[in-house]
Symmetry: C2
Subunit: 330 residues, 2 copies
Amino acid sequence: MDRKSEQTFRHAVEEIKKGKSFLVASHVNPEGDAVGSTLALALGLKELKKDVTAYLYDPVPATFRFLPFADKVVHKINEDKIYDAIFAVDCGQRDRLGEEFDKIRNKGKLINIDHHATNDCFGDINIINPDACAAGEMVYDLLKEIPVAITLDIAINIYVSVLTDTGSFRYSSTTPKSFNIAGEMVKLGVEPWDIAQRVYESYPLYKLKLLATVLNTLELSNNGKVALLVVTLDMLNKAKASKEVVDGFVNYARTIDGVEVGILLREAKPGEYKISFRSKGRIDVAKISEEFGGGGHKNAAGCNIKGSLTEVKEKVIGAAEKKIYETAAI
Amino acid sequence: MDRKSEQTFRHAVEEIKKGKSFLVASHVNPEGDAVGSTLALALGLKELKKDVTAYLYDPVPATFRFLPFADKVVHKINEDKIYDAIFAVDCGQRDRLGEEFDKIRNKGKLINIDHHATNDCFGDINIINPDACAAGEMVYDLLKEIPVAITLDIAINIYVSVLTDTGSFRYSSTTPKSFNIAGEMVKLGVEPWDIAQRVYESYPLYKLKLLATVLNTLELSNNGKVALLVVTLDMLNKAKASKEVVDGFVNYARTIDGVEVGILLREAKPGEYKISFRSKGRIDVAKISEEFGGGGHKNAAGCNIKGSLTEVKEKVIGAAEKKIYETAAI
């Protein structure tokens, strides 16, 4: 189904023009695009002198607290307030809005703006564009359609959305439009080096120490086609690190020459591991994750498995080797 | 002096139009921009049915051997041949062309196309644009001026020039034009993920093992404002790694929260260390390097120091702490 053509920004613009008071929300565990697209839209509505609340169920991660308007984000829904419309941005499913979704649902017309092809259209108005590299790109399109002049504060949020969701303009989701938007934001005053330092070049010391420990766990199998890294609770405790710090470590396994599938096992609690799979492109790791009740995309997927470290290792390496064998046979 | 206005692409275009046979050359130890801009210009001239030789003194690094026309690069100057013009791209000084420079110098009119502000104008025609993010950007401008239609093979080379010289669109040299060129190259068929994997996501296994060892040498001083990493000959030998593998490791020191100066000491030979300094922006590390007879840019510089590891560490940490103290006092 081509969801793009169902409903368009025109429907959202109508609601914005006739309304006065809006809530903008995004998903739990927000990353750069969730935070950036929420704040860009909230700031855009403020430019129109609307009453705007930006809501995220979880705290804004430290990395993104420099974003303009990040300090105004609320984490509780005001029980008494009703809005003219609620925007959900970058949210593929309703439950991704967090446990307060039912409260949000009843507070006004729900406008769902998202770039995930799997979006289940939980809104009253659903504008889904899987070709957009980031929800921030869709907010950019919406602001242009209203139109709202893009201030530097809005530009910084849009830039960070596009930057982070394209992996610094590296992922296959990067399009000519991604580059054109980024160029326009830089013209408006965004400083690429300043942003890159804040987003990518700011490691807590314990993260680097943990990385050194984790890299030492590297194991290769299947003639170097599968690489596996392990993070135990003991390592996290010793480094005094939270589990979020581990995000991205799996990429070190994938980047090794000849590796087709990179795997990271993180001990979630004694006897249970959270598994991240990454592939270079050829192997569909979502299919591997599904075998263990997980899911994801072709090149990035995950699941949880119970068992001892040895058992879990055997299971995931076995499943990866099987998938590589099957893929070669096609 | 604004060198930009001295001579323009028009002078180069005249030489191209009247000539038949050209040599394109770049600097020793070529990186992405040197290789990409050389190959893009060579391929552009080939589109005009010219006779073209691409020359680099050193081999094309393995990472960049996938670039179209990279397999045609020669590393020896043909003693007998005379060209209508010689292009030097991305070369700040004549001796950067390599030991065969004098042979090159006598083979035709020398056209110097570069984006380094420090270029010493060693050519007969000198086109210097310090605002260009890469020599590849200048080759793009030249091809547009001729004009030559940009083929996919040319586009890949220009894209890699811009990508690598802006550090994946992160350095302060990144401009709206960098993004516009990248977007145009993607429109022409360049695949950002394919290129990014080849350029950034292909680590030999021993590099990752060496990284783990090097991260374990991390030392902080000056209240966490100076971070130091060490690579010894013993570590390189044990990892069976060449010294080039260490390039970029210094960035791990710089990325730590609160660090102002990141330093990497690499043992060049017993009793002598090659030092790399990186700053986040405030501290001028070129000034620190100059104290030891080295040089570089404000945020990236280097030098060589003789002595024992302990002596060299003390010297560089002391110099960095002094510079931080002086900078704070300004």
